[in-house]
Symmetry: C2
Amino acid sequence: VNDPLAAVLREIVGTQNVLVDPGIRAAFETDWTRRFHGVSRCVVRPGSADEVAMVLRACAAEHAAVVPQGGNTGLVGGGVPRGGEVVLSLLRIDGIEHIDPHLGEVTCGAGLTLGALNEAAGAHGLRLGVDLAARGSATVGGMVATNAGGINVLRYGMMRSQVLGFEAVLANGSVIDRLEGPAKDNSGYDLGQLLAGSEGTLAVITRLRLRLVPVLPHSAVALFGAPTPEAAIDLAQRARAHFDDLEAAEFFLPEGLDLVRHHTGASNPFRRRWAMYVLFEIASRKPDVLERFAEFMDTVPGLGEGQMDGTFAQDAMDRKRLWALRERHTEAINSEGVPVKLDVAIPLARLPRFLDEVRGAVTSFAPSARAIIFGHLADANLHVNILGADGHEEAVTGSVLRLVAALKGSISAEHGIGIAKSHWLGLTRSPQDIAVMRAIKRALDPEGILNPGVIFTDTARPVTPPARRR
Amino acid sequence: VNDPLAAVLREIVGTQNVLVDPGIRAAFETDWTRRFHGVSRCVVRPGSADEVAMVLRACAAEHAAVVPQGGNTGLVGGGVPRGGEVVLSLLRIDGIEHIDPHLGEVTCGAGLTLGALNEAAGAHGLRLGVDLAARGSATVGGMVATNAGGINVLRYGMMRSQVLGFEAVLANGSVIDRLEGPAKDNSGYDLGQLLAGSEGTLAVITRLRLRLVPVLPHSAVALFGAPTPEAAIDLAQRARAHFDDLEAAEFFLPEGLDLVRHHTGASNPFRRRWAMYVLFEIASRKPDVLERFAEFMDTVPGLGEGQMDGTFAQDAMDRKRLWALRERHTEAINSEGVPVKLDVAIPLARLPRFLDEVRGAVTSFAPSARAIIFGHLADANLHVNILGADGHEEAVTGSVLRLVAALKGSISAEHGIGIAKSHWLGLTRSPQDIAVMRAIKRALDPEGILNPGVIFTDTARPVTPPARRR
């Protein structure tokens, strides 16, 4: 309470916006996976880019490390303190400034949640092209900072592809304003694309201009059971080639289906057990979506001959029921314990080999652990959830990520590196590559006050005060 | 010939790949607009990333500036020497290493031309999603380095959106290899997105993995005449909302049409003269493209009542004829003289005001000059070609770009800054913004040997040798 930095921050943002009470701070100090937790120096809640600039200057003057935080829905510990940092919450910068229904654009604060954005955009028949399960809490600023993905990437791209303009504050308090202006702009380096996915280590994003996409009135959902991962991949490739309007191509495995059915009481969608389940959604302005799914099914070899199975939803309730089998994986897994959550991508051709070998990679370090795997098949993006690794989390993580690297995959497809994977970055990034990323980090944040420990291991501790200058 | 650096470079790439003869060098020293020209120290043609690395290290040791060059089709002088630099030509690194028809990907050398790429990809029914008139010479490396745009941006995005992987060499000779692996990868900063559009100032791109799109068998082209720019913009918005498969929405003006007709002998597509002409193309896997255009025309208010006019191509010859009215603008303009070529974007709502005011902005500095304007309507991207500005090129350029900045436009939508616009960068980028771009430049190229003078003015001269270090 008598921290002199907190007193300075109160001058900037007002007393009520500097949280020092441990009970009130707690919600900002633990992430929702319950895996990452740290005690903050205080939580500061600025209301504008100018206030963010003053906060960062005040922190820099004290060599105090800062953790920018949005909705605190990250999965790699990048948005909660490690110990002693100032948490800079963006939640007060959440205004919807302008929606342009003709151009399909919104200008808003970084602290706006995806849910609130979609509610406002929905009045104009629009939504953000990125959607994810944490939509009620995840903020658009956090989604850009982590380059969020989700279920519609194959149609609309990741979060970086939605950014038309931004406002951000550098560690030195400079406000960079590229909010307005045409999206097509080759005037110097694309700083917005550099900040997208930089996980709060280069700047604090304060406002955004984002592309919106139409809410399409007609959608159809189909679920397939495939005898092998290879057959499932082939099916997904066929669907991509067949449909211009494929919105989702998700997959899960029988162990996951069992868990979800056990947790939710859902019935089995098929008579027999398949090696891989694939869920497709198409969405269109035109009503013929069911007919087109039926046409597609006619082109799938082996369907209806017992070599594959497929069903499609007849109505909205049915669609929801099929989606629940995929979407309720996370809560079903969480009900069994705190999983190790890994988010990887594997070149599609090597995906079957990964699925063959990943269980061995897990159980060799944690014999009683089990891996529940689901994800975005079109993107070759797998969410690997490991339950029962108690005490062996790091060994199991390393084992799985080494397998990913050996198959030339990505150790973080959409969740980011955070602090969870910073010491594994060298698995897929060469020393030269990491050196150039560090050089960029130093260029934008020479004192290392922004999110130390995230992405790069050796910035893990809050900077120690050198001799005060001038 | 007795330049010691040339001797070192010969050791690296072989005698035949270091060009010192002025006659042979000439093709690498003048850009195709004929506006930019400089004498090089020599031209070096490495054949691999390792050779590029050795070349850059040798140049760094001599503090010799390097201009990376692809097909030399840039329009802002960023790829030709200013005087005394080493030209590093990528044209020998032009192999097509792998085309994956299932995933729709190509891995190739940076010096491969777009035309050669599309020829090879065409055998698999694929092409690059970016297309532009210079396709015979433009290289994919240069297209990424300048984030090229072209006519299909509204469907497939700019060149940065096609990049799935890259290999590049930093000024210090480090080879960064992110060629393989899944496109979905949030493992640290997205260096590929930083290099896209950095115009050879941060690294030399040597190999690329690029997304390919299907060559669609059915296309339809329509041309409209609109009574006002506002009506043309409204029409383009309607087309975007109507079609999922709009590939192009281009525009030109009556002065440009007159010039093209005079140059090519083409007949007038409409009985009367319209204020703005809009050309649309849709492309699909399905054959009903003409029917869908007819449906669209029924929804356009005023069409067929004399308030607007429209025609659509009945066959391939017809499509070519309509496209020629737009595509032959450049050659028609060039036949009248060497134009000042500006490439700007204007927020769509302010486009009519820009068109109203741009002629005054030109003639106030060059009374007899005329502006021929055409471009990509959906992207609000205008190519402003000024003929007859003789002796007043800089004044006219400044006048137009100041107008663009006042309307919150972009002073370079797709061509880049190069040396042509480096002293205008401050019109749309704040001092803080330019400072952070310079910090990134220093971080990646501390000696300033890569393309000095491009983007930033004060790196305009080849670096002067400081005291040689150990």
